[in-house]
């Protein structure tokens, strides 16, 4: 021990050298493409620029001003909020329900888990193509079922009222399996004696779920909710493949709006401002999550 103390200074220097050289590739890349990008996007959001002009014009906060006074942008925000509330509102209870059913072991449980997880693994584009075929107005399977039950066929992706519904259903289908896995992990951490105690007290199955399971998995619940909100907020592929934002802008979400402004119209400044607002919103959500987590987390271990 005495010897170590003498060498500790050189040890520490050596460790510092090693530590930084190990960390450098990751930190370097993330600084350039992560933090550098954020700084760059903040700067770009203050410019008016269409990529072709050799010199961008500095316009200060004009882009933000324009966005906040643009009805198409405000509608995109409302649409996105609707989308994330409804899609999370369906996916969260559904995946929790399925996770509770899948929690108890039975023969073939892994097949079910895999089956629900496959949509998450499949490329969104491939799934979206399948969905556009399912919801095809003339020959699609969904309208065929409707006709079988003597209901009128629907235009689905061709209708401003229904297109968003199809996108939401695709989201539910894709993410339920992922959230089931997260919930299953949360359920595993609920101590079995709690259920036994509840059973002794005569709690029925619903009471056990409501009084034991639900309070014990609040951290997972909160985490899944945040993830779902972020995932739906950033859904791009679904919109791009299924509707291209239409019909009549009815599925233009914020991220799609950003894509149109930035990479279709080359309004770089506007698109950058959208990105900054998006980041702000996500920062608020993340902050709320961390604040919420400290309130909810049960430290059992």
């Amino acid at each position: 021990m005495q010897k170590l103390a003498i060498y500790s200074l050189t040890f520490r220097q050596k460790n510092t050298l090693i530590g930084w050289s190990f960390v450098l590739p990751a930190v370097g890349l993330l600084s350039v493409f992560g933090i550098g990008s954020i700084a760059y996007v903040l700067y770009l959001s203050l410019l008016r620029w269409n990529l072709i002009d050799p010199t961008p014009t500095f316009v200060g906060l004009a882009n933000y001003n324009q966005l906040l006074h643009s009805t198409s942008f405000l509608h995109a925000i409302l649409r996105t909020l609707f989308y994330l509330v409804v899609s999370t509102g369906i996916t969260l209870p559904l995946s929790l329900f399925l996770a509770v059913l899948l929690h108890e072991p039975f023969r073939g449980v892994r097949i079910f888990r895999a089956l629900f997880f496959i949509p998450y693994v499949a490329p969104t584009v491939a799934s979206a193509i399948a969905w556009s075929w399912l919801f095809e107005p003339h020959h699609g399977l969904i309208n065929y079922f409707l006709r079988v039950f003597h209901m009128p066929a629907q235009p689905w992706l061709g209708s401003p009222n229904q297109a968003m519904l199809v996108i939401i259903l695709l989201y539910v289908w894709q993410f339920t399996g992922y959230f089931i896995v997260l919930f299953l992990n949360g359920l595993q951490n609920v101590p079995v004696p709690l259920y036994e105690a509840a059973q002794m007290d005569g709690a029925n199955r619903w009471q056990q779920f409501y009084r034991v399971t639900l309070p014990m998995i609040t951290p997972t619940l909160f985490f899944v909710m945040t993830m779902s909100i972020i995932f739906s907020f950033l859904s791009f592929d679904q919109v791009y493949v299924l509707t291209n934002g239409g019909p009549a802008d009815s599925t233009t979400t914020i991220i799609y709006y950003l894509f149109l402004q930035g990479f279709q119209f080359f309004h770089i400044g506007i698109a950058a401002a959208v990105a900054v607002l998006l980041l702000l919103f996500l920062a608020v959500i993340t902050y709320l999550q961390f604040k919420g987590e400290s309130k909810w987390v049960h430290h059992q271990m």
């Binding site: 460790n15 510092t16 530590g19 930084w20 190990f22 960390v23 590739p25 990751a26 930190v27 370097g28 890349l29 993330l30 600084s31 493409f33 992560g34 933090i35 550098g36 990008s37 954020i38 770009l44 059913l101 108890e104 039975f106 892994r110 888990r113 895999a114 089956l115 629900f116 997880f117 949509p119 499949a122 969104t124 584009v125 491939a126 399948a130 969905w131 556009s132 075929w133 399912l134 399977l141 289908w173 997260l182 299953l184 992990n185 079995v192 059973q199 002794m200 005569g202 985490f223 972020i230 791009f236 791009y240 493949v241 950003l258 894509f259 770089i268 950058a272 980041l279 920062a283 993340t286």
Partner: protein, 298 residues
């Protein structure tokens, strides 16, 4: 759920006993559970099955009424037609190349960083980890405009570099591996260090093998993410020979009516799903566990 031991049961009141007896009627409850699950699973399976079914129907059968639920005369040639579409195999190759390159790069950079953060006491560690964590919450979509301009600046548009280099560092993977590496018992590392092992030796011979499930699950999730990504390849590729599967598929739908039939489209989509699906089934055990584990332990 464990059943209470006999010792406990004997000391119970009759009311409590009745509850326990009732709770032992597991089979009936299980039957209901499994039937409900089967019904919901059938709904979830329907789009996949319909995709597979359509991919095996002939171009005429696709539009038949009533629809063919089962492809009695499977047209395997649809898959050949899908594969033979111009550039389709190139799209697949590109997607696999970039996803594999990104995953390998990320594993190298993140295991190095994670090892230092989890196991090496060094000055400035908090700053380094802080920088990594700060990027953890940045969604890539927000950075696409500046990153696109950087790629233009580097003259990397329509090259593999643009598709790969920006993603070689991963805060997600680093964070994930830090959690995993911290669980390796310190005693083992101390013993190795006593024997004169260097950090690189410890990392590659002890820590990495011990953390194989975590490595595999982060590799799998990031492979799926980058193999499936549409947005970034869509804006950084221009020529057919650089496009990836998701981008290529969107072009095939756009061309619908001019040759590509629904059965070919479904066959192409199935082929596109295949690589990720194969990986998933090979390592299912690791992925499902790993996915849950580290995601929650934030």
């Amino acid at each position: 759920m464990g059943t209470p031991s006999n010792v406990v049961t004997t000391s119970l009141s009759s009311v409590q006993k009745r509850h326990l007896i009732r709770s032992k009627r597991v089979p009936m409850r299980k039957i209901i559970n499994i039937s409900v699950l089967t019904m919901i699973a059938a709904v979830f399976f329907m789009p996949l099955w319909w995709m597979a079914d359509t991919s095996l129907l002939s171009n005429q059968q696709v539009f038949d009424y009533p629809p063919h639920y089962i492809p009695w005369h499977p047209q395997w040639t649809n898959f050949i037609a899908a594969w033979d579409q111009p550039y389709f195999s190139r799209y697949m190759l590109n997607s696999i190349i970039i996803a594999v390159a990104i995953v390998i790069g990320q594993l190298v950079t993140s295991s190095l960083a994670a090892y230092a953060i989890a196991r090496v006491p060094f000055r400035g560690k908090k700053i380094a980890y802080g920088l990594i964590l700060a990027t953890f919450m940045i969604p890539v979509q927000v950075t696409f405009i500046p990153m696109f301009l950087m790629m233009k600046e580097f003259n990397w548009i329509d090259t593999y570099q643009a598709l790969i280099v920006p993603f070689l560092g991963s805060a997600f993977a680093t964070f994930w591996l830090v959690q995993a590496f911290r669980q390796v018992p310190q005693v083992i590392l101390d013993a190795a260090q006593m024997d004169g092992a260097g950090h690189m030796w410890i990392l590659t011979r002890i820590v990495l093998p011990m953390c194989k499930p975590s490595l595999l699950s982060v590799a799998f999730l990031n492979f799926v993410f980058h193999y499936n990504d549409l947005f970034w390849p869509l804006i950084t590729t221009q020529s057919n020979s650089m496009r990836t599967v998701p981008v290529g598929l969107t072009y095939m739908i756009a061309n619908d009516g001019s040759g590509t039939s629904w059965s070919t489209l479904m066959a192409s989509s199935l082929l596109a799903i295949l690589p990720a699906l194969l990986l998933f089934f090979i390592g299912q055990k690791y992925f499902v566990q790993g996915t849950a584990h580290t995601a929650i332990k934030e």
